[in-house]
């Protein structure tokens, strides 16, 4: 189970990188960046998970609720989702303007900052 859980994190991050490197459309690349971003959320929550643990919400719990899951990693993952959403929105705004000015969305065709 650990191999599957942590393997998915590495897989998501690397497939996101692959998507960014081989992308032919800026909007496609931006969504690939958000895939890589979600890898970090999954890692944080997997670190905080406790087998058989219940959510850190202490209301209407059974008599012997057992251990609770880590609330700190959930707070970190919450911040990370917000950061991911805002960076994705900013990149999409940039992509829209690049298409308007450069006429193309293909990252390999963007030569304005060529050496």
């Amino acid at each position: 189970m650990s191999v599957l859980a942590y393997g998915v994190v590495a897989w998501l991050f690397l497939i996101g990188l692959y998507g960014v490197v081989t992308s032919r459309n800026l909007i496609h690349m931006v969504v690939c960046v958000s895939v890589a971003q979600s890898a970090t959320d999954v890692l944080l929550l997997e670190i905080g998970y406790r087998a058989g643990g219940h959510a850190p919400v202490f209301v209407s719990l059974p008599a012997h609720p057992g251990p609770a899951v880590d609330a700190v990693t959930q707070a970190l993952a919450l911040t990370d989702v917000v950061v991911g959403a805002t960076v994705t929105a900013l990149l999409l705004a940039l992509a829209v303007q690049v298409h308007k000015r450069a006429g193309t969305l293909d990252p390999d065709a963007l030569r304005a900052t060529k050496e």
Partner: protein, 80 residues
């Protein structure tokens, strides 16, 4: 039992994440990304993270698809 649910969610997330990257057309990718976001929310829920699952649903189902589709509409409009 909960480990089985998490395993299913993990496989769903990994498969749909790969699908998001491999669909090159942004419009189709937007739909697969919605499916991927739903998978993430299901995974977070199965790992007892209610707050994060709710914010993933909210971001993945409302905020990002709307912005991606509006960007695509602007980009497509520019092409005619």
């Amino acid at each position: 039992m909960s480990d089985a649910v998490i395993a299913v969610a993990l496989v769903w997330v990994a498969a749909s994440g790969t699908a998001v990257v491999l669909t090159r057309d942004p419009l189709q990718q937007a739909f697969v990304a919605g499916f991927f976001g739903l998978g993430l929310a299901f995974l977070y829920l199965s790992m007892q993270a209610g707050d994060v699952a709710l914010s993933q649903i909210v971001v993945g189902a409302i905020a990002l698809p709307l912005i991606v589709l509006l960007s695509l509409a602007k980009v497509r409009k520019g092409r005619e």
